[in-house]
C-alpha cells in the first residue's frame, strides 16, 4: 500500500492506494500517529485508490478515528468507491464516511481561537498565548522546614493536602506514620488532584495518588512549595521547523512576559526534547546526625543523576515555580540556576508515555487528569541545568506542548 500525504488548508489528506489489510494496518496507524504528533488533528483519508479493505484495515481506520476525536480532532474517509462504502456500512462503520472534504469544526476552531490569542516565535518555535483568566494569580507557600541534607526531624515535616485546588512540588511521603514516611521520602509533583511521587527507596517508577470522590491525597512534606489560585495564561508552542525545541529558560521567558510578572507558578504538559535532572534515590529521612550527605562521593548514595538527556519524545508534566525578580533574598525551595544570574527555579517533571494534546485552547485540570487516567508515570525528575563546559548535558528542552501560568507571590513560613 502507498500512502501520500498532502497538507490542505486546515486538514491533512492521506491518499491510500492499494490494499489496506492486516499487513498494512499498522503502517497506516503509525502514519496517523506521526501526523498527530506534529499537531495535525484533522485528517481525511482519500480512499479512491483503495482496492481492498479487510477487517484489520477497518479496525485501523476506527482506531485513527478514536485517537483523533480524543484530542478534539476529526477523521473521515472521503471519495470512497462503492465497494469501500459498502464494506464500511455493512459493518456499521458508516460514521467514518464523510461527504464533504473539509472539516467544518476545524475552521470554526481556528477562527475562534485566533481572536483570543497572540503569537510570536522563539528560536524556530511558535508560541501562542491565550488569556484564560484576567485576574489569575497563585499564592505560594513553603511546606516543611527541612533544610536539604541536614538530618530530618519529624517536627520539620508538614502534613499537606493535595486536592484539585492546588499545585505542589517537593520532597515527602504519603502521610501514614512517621517511621514509614521517613524511610520513603522522595520527590513529588502534584496538580489537579493528581500527585506523582517517587519513593526514596531507589524505586524506578513513581507511585501516584489521585483525588477521587471524598478522598484527597495527603503527604507528609519535608520541604517544598504549594500554591493555590488560578492560572491567567495558557501558552501553546510547537516547532515551525523540524528539530526546533524550546529550552526551559526560554519557556520561562515567555511565561514572564505573558503574565507580566517576574514571579510565576506554572504547570506544563509537553513532549520532551530531552530532560536533565536528578532524583532522590534514598530517603533524606535516613540521613544520620553528623553525616555529610551532600559531599561527593557520598552524595551518590542519596541522589541519582540522569547521566544523559533522557525521555526524548515522551509526554512530560511539569510543575514549577520561578522567580526572576533578581532579589538577593534567598527563598527556601527556590534554588538559583547557573544559566541565568538572578533566576531561581524549582521544577519537577513527571514523565508519561507520549499522548497527543488537543490543539488550541485547553484546560489544565482536564489535561492532567487525562494524562494520569491514560497511563502510569514512567519517571520523575527534579530538573537541573548542567552547564559544565563540553561535558555538560545542558538544559531540559521541549518540542511542543501547553503551559499554564500565573503571576505568583511567595510567602515564607518562619524557619528556625
Amino acid at each position: 500500500m502507498n500512502i501520500t500525504s498532502s497538507h490542505k488548508n486546515n486538514y491533512l489528506e492521506l491518499k491510500l492506494e492499494g490494499r489496506l489489510d492486516a499487513a498494512w494496518a499498522e503502517h497506516f496507524v503509525s502514519t496517523v500517529s506521526a501526523a498527530m504528533r506534529e499537531g495535525r488533528h484533522h485528517i481525511r483519508v482519500d480512499a479512491l485508490g483503495l482496492s481492498y479493505l479487510s477487517s484489520a484495515g477497518m479496525r485501523s481506520l476506527l482506531r485513527a478515528h478514536r485517537e483523533l476525536t480524543s484530542v478534539n480532532g476529526s477523521f473521515a474517509v472521503i471519495r470512497a468507491s462503492d465497494f469501500v462504502v459498502n464494506t464500511l456500512s455493512m459493518s456499521g462503520f458508516d460514521t467514518l464516511l464523510a461527504l464533504d472534504e473539509a472539516p467544518a469544526e476545524a475552521v470554526a476552531d481556528e477562527e475562534a481561537t485566533s481572536a483570543k490569542s497572540k503569537s510570536w516565535s522563539v528560536n524556530g518555535v511558535r508560541i501562542e498565548s491565550y488569556s484564560q483568566q484576567e485576574d489569575g494569580h497563585m499564592e505560594v507557600h513553603t511546606t516543611g522546614k527541612w533544610t536539604p541534607w541536614q538530618p530530618l526531624r519529624e517536627e520539620d515535616c508538614a502534613k499537606i493536602a493535595l486536592g484539585r485546588d492546588c499545585i505542589a512540588i517537593g520532597s515527602g511521603a504519603p502521610a501514614d506514620e512517621w517511621q514509614n514516611a521517613r524511610e520513603q521520602m522522595g520527590d513529588y509533583a502534584s496538580a489537579a488532584g493528581c500527585t506523582a511521587w517517587l519513593p526514596g527507596t531507589g524505586a524506578d517508577a513513581p507511585d501516584y495518588l489521585v483525588q477521587e470522590g471524598r478522598y484527597v491525597p495527603e503527604l507528609l512534606a519535608a520541604s517544598g512549595l504549594r500554591a493555590v489560585g488560578s492560572f491567567s495564561q495558557l501558552l501553546r508552542f510547537s516547532p515551525e521547523n523540524d528539530g526546533a525545541s524550546l529550552e526551559l529558560p526560554r519557556l520561562l521567558e515567555a511565561v514572564f512576559s505573558s503574565t507580566g510578572s517576574t514571579k510565576a507558578a506554572f504547570v506544563a504538559i509537553a513532549e520532551a526534547g530531552g530532560l536533565v535532572g536528578v532524583t532522590l534515590s534514598r530517603s533524606p529521612g535516613l540521613i544520620s546526625e553528623g553525616e555529610h550527605a551532600d559531599e561527593f562521593p557520598g552524595v551518590r548514595d542519596w541522589m541519582s543523576f540522569c547521566g544523559e538527556r533522557v525521555h526524548h519524545g515522551r509526554q512530560v508534566l511539569l510543575v514549577g515555580f520561578a522567580d526572576a525578580s533578581g532579589s538577593g533574598q534567598s527563598q527556601p525551595g527556590l534554588p538559583a540556576i547557573p544559566s541565568r544570574p538572578g533566576w531561581k527555579l524549582h521544577v519537577h517533571a513527571v514523565v508519561f508515555p507520549f499522548r497527543p494534546l488537543p490543539n488550541g485552547e485547553i484546560f489544565m485540570s482536564e489535561c492532567v487528569e487525562q494524562l494520569f487516567a491514560a497511563a502510569e508515570p514512567i519517571a520523575m525528575l527534579h530538573l537541573v541545568e548542567d552547564e559544565r563546559p563540553t561535558l555538560g548535558l545542558g538544559k531540559s528542552s521541549f518540542i511542543r506542548g501547553a503551559c499554564w501560568c500565573a503571576p505568583a507571590s511567595f510567602h515564607t513560613e518562619n524557619r528556625k
Binding site: P148, D204, F296, S304, F305, G307, E385
Partner: protein, 270 residues
Amino acid sequence: MLEINNVVKTFNPGTPNEVRALRGISMKLEEGCFAAIIGTNGSGKSTSLNAVAGSFLPDSGTILLDGQDISNWPEYRRASMIGRVFQNPFAGTAAEMSIAENIVLSMRRGMSRGLGMALNRRVREEIRERIRPLNMGLENRIDNAMGSLSGGQRQALTLLMATWLRPKLLLLDEHTAALDPKSAAQVATLTKEIIEREKLTALMVTHSMQQAVQLPQRIIMMHKGQVVEDIHGVRKARTQVADLMNAFDRVRRRDLFDQSVAEQVLPQYA
C-alpha cells in the same frame, strides 16, 4: 553455608596493568540458596567465583564454607566441598579421555585415589544409570572420547560430574554462555532440576537476564569489584528483566555522577 567477608583482590599490583578486580566483596549464602551473580563485563564476577574456588588466594578477607575457614586452602582441597562448571565446555572435562573415565574422576572428587581399577562393571552400570535421564543417548557411548561430544553434551556432563557427589557448594560460571540457544536452554533446565532436587547451595554467574530472573532465588549484582545490589526474598519474586535492566542503568548513571556533576547539581537541589 558460604560466607565471603570483605574479600579484596588486585591483579598485577603496582604495575601499569594493575586491576582492582575485587574491592571488598561480602556475601552470605544460606544452605540451599541458589543465587545468580550478574554484572557488566569485568565487574569481577568470575574473579569472585575463582576466589571461592581457590584459583588464587585473596589479598585480604576471609571465605567460610560450612563453618570452616577455607581462605588459605589450595584449590584442589576446596574441591572436596565445591563442584564447578566453567564457561568453556572444554575446561571441565578431559577431551581425549572417555566419558566413563571423565565421570569416574568426578566420582572420587576430593577423595584419595588409590591403585584400584577406575572402571569396573558396577561403576560402568552406575554411570549409565545416571546419564540416562539426560536423554542424550550418551549411556550407550560411555567409552567414546569426551572430545567427540557437542558443547551442550559436554556441559551437561560437566554439570553432572560437578554434582555427582553432592557438593556443599556448586559454582557455575556462565556455563551456558558458549552454547547455542537450544543447548543453553537444555543445560539451564538441567541446572535448575539438579539444584532443586539435591537442594544445593549454588552460585551462578550469568549474562542472561532471563536466566537470572527465572532460575535462582536470589540475584546479586556486581559492579567494579563490588556488590551493588542484592535482590532476594519477596523482592526477587517480583523482579522482572526490565528491573534488572534498570538496575544496570542505575549503576551506569552512578558512574557518570562525578565530582563535577555534584558541583553543578547540588546547589540546584535545595
